[in-house]
Structure formats: structure tokens, C-alpha cells
């Protein structure tokens, strides 16, 4: 069991977690895009790509929500905080723009400011630099399952003693290259973040758990994933958050991408925040929420069992 002690949502229109299930989120055309400068201040954002800026917003809010950031300063030991970021489309725009410039002109015409952005781990390392997080720093680019895998690796890093707190971020930027590569009309242009800790770490610093991650697993197919998650959950779930797209987990599963657009590497992290929204709305919900990413044409499925913390239901 792993405690989620902080979370954030960084999405157009600034919805609350519970809005992810409701019509209250509003029409897509009415949603204001995320403005990182308004949330973080302009300083230090120049030359940072969109995925990085979105991740910095998500990281700041989740760390603050977990009580690990006070007055902009980290309240935990820097080396105790690990970072796991999930994104598939993060820097594909930079890579294509630079390759296009080289083809049209030459390498002398590219901007040196793109150098760091050509490496896919720029998102995770910029989060570490901004907030001074010196624990392990992992950039997961693992396809459709990537967001849940990021949670899974966060859990494992806590178990292996590599960190006491893990900041998990899932973000995807919307741009032409991302939409074409994802073969999607809409890509989310946002994401979410979580802070994971062992329950005893959380209670030792009087941090309240907002959600518990009971199990993370990977399987070769969605039905097998649901079977094994169901066996772990021990009771029927009233909510299954399914993979995105038409080949998901069937009609009974809630596909967040229907309202948000293609979520790709952000999906799993968004599912966890959606579960927090579910438990806050359905106050008598006691059954676990299941999250499943990857289905149909994807290489595998990942799943999590998300449960309401006991103290939160009292």
C-alpha cells in the first residue's frame, strides 16, 4: 500500500478532480489553455518547451499540496525526493523542428537553445532543477501504459529505499507534430502529478493520505488485467477508468480521453487524480477504483487498484 499525499491537475479550463466525471467541466471551446507564466511567474520559463512548462506547474502544485513545498522552499531533504515523469510526445516537436531546419538550411541555422530540449528527459530534469529534487530522476516514455508505469516505478523506488517521497508527473503537450504522430484530433495539453509516500512516512510527518495505491501490475491484455485487478480488489468496483480509444475496456469503463483528448503518457496519472475526485463526490463509495492503461493495439496493459484511505472515509 502506498499513500498519495499530494496531487495536482493541470488542464485547460482548470477543472477540479470531480469535474473529470461531470458536465460541469464545460464545452471544450470554452476552456482556457494552461498559462504557466501565470502559475509560476515568467522567470526561468524562456526556452523551456511546453511539456516542461506544464510539468513544472503540475509539480509545484502537487508538492505544495503534499506539504513538501512551503514559501517556494522544499521542506524535505533534497536527496529524499525522487522524480518520475511520464510523457511520450514531450519533445517530438523540438526534434522535428530542428531536423526540418537542418534539411531546409543546415546545422548552422538551428538554435543552440534547443540543445537540452532534444533530449527526452528534459522534462524530468527541469522539474528536479526548479525544486531542488536530488533523488533518482526517471523519465518514462513507455507508450500507452506509461502514466501507470510511472506510478508503479514510484512505488518500487519507495520499497527499494531509493527515496522517501516520489513526485510522479504525467504530461503531454498539444502541437501539430504531437497530434499527427498520435493520429488524434485532440491531445490533452496538460497533465497531473502525485506525491507518493509509504503510509508510515506520511503519518510521521502528519501528512494526510488522499488516496492509496494498493497494487500495480502489467499483463498482456485488458481482460487479464481486469481479472487480476478484480482479484486484488476483493470486491466489485463501481468505477473502472479504462484505456483511451475505441479498443478500451468496454462500455462499462470510463475513458477520460473522451473529455480531455488523447492523454497518452499522462493518462495513468490523470486516472489516479480522477479516482480522488470520485471518492470526494461519491462519499459513500467504499469499493476500489480500477485504472487500466493500454489496450487494443497497444503492446500491453497496466493496471492499478486505487482505494479510499480509511481516515478519509471517517
Amino acid at each position: 500500500m502506498t499513500a498519495v499525499t499530494g496531487y495536482s491537475l493541470v488542464l485547460p479550463g482548470a477543472p477540479a478532480p470531480a469535474d473529470l466525471f461531470s458536465a460541469g467541466y464545460g464545452r471544450e471551446t470554452d476552456r482556457e489553455p494552461v498559462d504557466p507564466a501565470a502559475r509560476l511567474g515568467r522567470k526561468g520559463l524562456r526556452y523551456k518547451d511546453r511539456a516542461t512548462q506544464l510539468a513544472l506547474c503540475a509539480a509545484q502544485d502537487a508538492l505544495a499540496d503534499a506539504g513538501l513545498l512551503a514559501g517556494g522552499e522544499l521542506t524535505a531533504a533534497a536527496s529524499d525526493v525522487a522524480v518520475v515523469v511520464s510523457s511520450n510526445l514531450g519533445n517530438v516537436d523540438t526534434v522535428c523542428r530542428v531536423a526540418g531546419t537542418i534539411a531546409a538550411e543546415s546545422a548552422r541555422a538551428v538554435s543552440a537553445m534547443d540543445t537540452a530540449n532534444a533530449s527526452s528527459n528534459i522534462v524530468a530534469s527541469e522539474v528536479a532543477i526548479r525544486f531542488g529534487l536530488r533523488g533518482p530522476n526517471v523519465m518514462l516514455c513507455n507508450g500507452a501504459t506509461s502514466g501507470l508505469d510511472a506510478i508503479g516505478w514510484g512505488v518500487r523506488m519507495l520499497r527499494a529505499g531509493r527515496a522517501r517521497h516520489v513526485l510522479v508527473v504525467g504530461v503531454e503537450p498539444a502541437n501539430d507534430v504531437a497530434r499527427r504522430l498520435a493520429r488524434a484530433d485532440r491531445v490533452v495539453d496538460g497533465g497531473a502529478a502525485l506525491v507518493l509516500e509509504m503510509p508510515e512516512t506520511a503519518s510521521a510527518r502528519s501528512a494526510r493520505a488522499k488516496l492509496h495505491v494498493r497494487r500495480y501490475l502489467r499483463t498482456g491484455s485488458v481482460p487479464e488485467c481486469l481479472d487480476r485487478l478484480g482479484a486484488t480488489a476483493g470486491q466489485a468496483s463501481e468505477l473502472v477508468l479504462g484505456p483511451e480509444g475505441p479498443d478500451g475496456a468496454g462500455e462499462a469503463a470510463h475513458d477520460l480521453s473522451r473529455t480531455l483528448g488523447r492523454c497518452s503518457g499522462a493518462l495513468g496519472v490523470l486516472q489516479a487524480v480522477a479516482a480522488i475526485g470520485w471518492f470526494s463526490t461519491i462519499t459513500d463509495a467504499s469499493a476500489p477504483v480500477l485504472g487500466v492503461c493500454g489496450g487494443g493495439t497497444d503492446d500491453a496493459s497496466a493496471g492499478v487498484v486505487l482505494v479510499r484511505p480509511a481516515e478519509a472515509s471517517r
Binding site: 531536423a99 537540452a116 528527459n121 530534469s125 527541469e126 518514462l140 516514455c141 507508450g143 518500487r156 500491453a300
Partner: protein, 379 residues
């Protein structure tokens, strides 16, 4: 931690398997060649360490995937495992994923799907593996993957784990490096005062890790993972931090329970850049203290190029060969070591022969992400 390595696989510009690469390193074979996949007119730099597999039809997508599958196939065969892996975890470290294919897709309309940008899709097709993970952790990616893969066995989550690293050079990364290097290097010269920078290379490496009590043939063990550190400088997107690198070395010692007095060999990250080499040498001196002049030291990038995501695991493969054979390849091209290495036992100009037990392998990447592995020989 004491986790056996039971399979090795690798491919680089200077060899198509671990034995060949190790022999090339010991005899000084390898070096950068003229560009094969990119249009030479568009760059000042004209050299890379490419694996020459393209033939007359020019560049094509999915070369990184092909090298990865080759290295993993070698490692599985070496470990006596079949190619139906199912739930065996496969962890792949990479700097640039299949971004070269994205470039060809964007620029030339080459066929490519988002599902091929990470390596799980190919690993499912080839090995029926569904517990696959692509870590895009720059130049320390494969050592980071090794750290997390070893954790899986240590925590009892898996009996067998495949860890791999791979990269092929992207035109965007090569072009951006070219932009900021007015005088591109003709060769990579780690720790030499005449070093002019690094040159990237294609490469892939793979290892099979097993839970100790599942090893049937002790003679098949290449060596042991004793501990792998992983941290982040949180300092600068491209420049290393002395404090962060020193902490990564110290953390590896703490995790392995072995220290500077146990380390017989260091496989340095040694990129031949102005930034890396002095910081790495100084960090090693700080972390090893009075024992800094004890181990033999070498670096392989003069002959393989900087193979980025596979670099750390490539060095692990070389370290395991060196521990077993008691032979350490020299730092090619090193004639005038930088002052920060004064007193260090950098191997040159020939391979060294010595009885060795414990090796330390460094991997540092863009974003200040550091990982250091402590390995022990088979004896």
C-alpha cells in the same frame, strides 16, 4: 546485494558482439568514420561512430530497435533462455528512443507509428514480453535501468530481469552539437589535455540478471551486481555538478557495502568533453579519498564513440570481461592526461594485466542524472 549476471549481449561500431568489442578495445580498434546516414553538406562535423548497416538505400526507420533486439537476443542465448519471455521484466535505457525514426517520418514521410517510439511494441512482437519499460534517461539511461532492474530482483518481484540500453544518433542531436562546436573533434580523447569534445555513436547492450538461487550453472555467471546508485544534480540541464557526481559514487559504495579500498577497476564515463572529464576526475578523488590512486582506470568512448543510452551498460559489459580475464583495455588516444587525474592509474598505452575483483562503472547524463554501478567478478 549480490545479483548474478548470466547473459551478455552488445553491438557497437567497433564490434558485433561482446567478445569482438572487448578485443577491439584491447587492441585499439575503432574510431569515428565519415557520416553515412546524414547529408554531409549540412554539418561542420563530419564524423560519427555509426554501425554500418544501412546499405546503398540510405537511412531507414527502426535501426535502434533492430540493434536493441540483436543485443537482447545475444544476451538471452548466452543465458540459455528462450525467446518467449512473457512476464519477465525487460528494462530499456535510451537517450533518444526511436526519435531518428520520428525525424525520417516528419521529413521524408517514412512509415512510422507512435507505438514504435518506445521499445515495448517490438519486444512484445519479438519476445512476447509484456512487462517492458523504456526509460529515456539520457547518457545514464542504461545504468538507471540496471539500478531499477536489480531492485526488482532484490525486492523479490522477479526471478529473471533483462536490462538493456540502446541509441542511434539523431540528426537533431548531432546538428545541435555541431551548432555549438565550431571546431568539431576528429577523435574522442577522454582525460587528455588535447581533448576537443565527444562524438556520438550507435550502440546497444544487454544483460540478463537472475535471482541467485535460480542459477543452475555457476560457471555461466559473468559476475555480480553489488549495488547501483541513482541520483540527480538538480543543478543544470547540460553541465555536470561536482557535488552530484561525488554523491552518486558515495551512494554506490553505501548501497554495495564496498568502498574505495575494494575497488580494483573504474570504468570512467570519460566523454572527452571540457565539462565532464575534470568534474568526473575530481569527484572520484573526493569520493575515494586516500584510495583514489588504487584502482586501474579506463574509458572506452575513444573507440566506441559516446553511445549515450547504451553507454553505461556497454561499460558494464567491458568491466565484467575485464574482471574475468584480468585484462583492462587502455584509454585510446590518451597521451597527456589532464592535471585532475594526477596519480590516477589510467591504463595506457597498452592493455594492463592484473588480478581484479571489484569494478566501478560510471554513467552521467544530461539533466545531471548520475548512476554508478559496483560489479564483482565471477570468482
Amino acid at each position: 546485494m549480490r545479483i548474478p549476471v548470466t547473459g551478455l549481449g552488445a553491438i557497437a561500431a567497433n564490434g558485433t558482439d561482446p567478445d569482438q568489442i572487448f578485443k577491439s578495445l584491447c587492441t585499439g580498434q575503432g574510431g569515428p568514420e565519415h557520416l553515412r546516414g546524414f547529408d554531409r553538406r549540412r554539418f561542420t562535423a563530419q564524423r560519427l561512430f555509426e554501425i554500418d548497416d544501412r546499405g546503398p538505400d540510405g537511412d531507414r526507420p527502426l535501426r535502434a530497435t533492430a540493434f536493441l533486439l540483436e543485443a537482447i537476443s545475444q544476451a538471452l542465448a548466452d543465458a540459455g533462455l528462450g525467446d518467449d519471455l512473457g512476464d519477465v521484466p525487460m528494462l530499456v535505457g535510451t537517450g533518444l528512443r526511436e526519435l531518428r525514426s520520428v525525424e525520417l517520418w516528419h521529413r521524408d514521410g517514412a512509415e512510422f507509428r507512435l507505438e514504435e517510439l518506445h521499445f515495448g511494441t517490438a519486444l512484445r512482437e519479438r519476445f512476447n514480453a509484456f512487462d517492458t519499460h523504456t526509460f529515456s534517461n539520457a547518457c545514464s539511461a542504461s545504468l538507471y535501468a540496471l539500478a531499477l532492474g536489480a531492485d526488482l530482483i532484490d525486492c523479490g518481484d522477479a526471478d529473471t530481469v533483462v536490462v538493456a540500453g540502446v541509441d542511434t544518433v539523431t540528426e537533431s542531436m548531432f546538428g545541435l552539437a555541431d551548432r555549438v562546436q565550431p571546431h568539431p573533434p576528429e577523435s574522442v580523447r577522454p582525460f587528455d589535455s588535447g581533448r576537443q569534445g565527444t562524438i556520438l555513436g550507435d550502440g546497444a547492450a544487454a544483460v540478463v540478471l537472475q535471482r541467485p538461487d535460480t542459477v543452475r550453472d555457476p560457471a555461466a555467471v559473468h559476475g555480480w551486481i553489488r549495488g547501483v546508485s541513482a541520483n540527480c544534480d538538480a543543478y543544470h540541464p547540460t553541465a555536470p555538478s561536482l557535488e552530484g557526481v561525488t554523491a552518486a559514487i558515495a551512494q554506490a559504495h553505501a548501497r554495495s557495502g564496498l568502498g574505495p579500498d575494494d575497488v580494483d577497476l573504474v570504468l570512467l564515463h570519460g566523454t572527452g568533453t571540457a565539462l565532464n572529464d575534470p568534474v568526473e576526475a575530481t569527484a572520484l578523488r573526493q569520493a575515494h579519498g586516500a584510495s583514489a590512486n588504487r584502482p586501474l582506470m579506463t574509458a572506452i568512448k575513444a573507440l566506441t564513440g559516446h553511445t549515450s543510452g547504451s553507454a553505461g551498460l556497454m561499460s558494464c559489459m567491458v568491466a565484467l570481461k575485464a574482471l574475468r580475464e584480468g585484462t583492462v583495455p587502455p584509454v585510446a588516444g590518451l597521451t597527456d592526461p589532464i592535471p585532475e587525474t594526477a596519480g590516477f592509474r589510467l591504463v595506457r598505452p597498452e592493455a594492463a594485466r592484473e588480478t581484479l575483483d571489484v569494478a566501478q562503472v560510471h554513467g552521467f547524463g544530461f539533466g545531471g542524472i548520475n548512476a554508478v554501478a559496483i560489479l564483482q567478478g565471477p570468482r
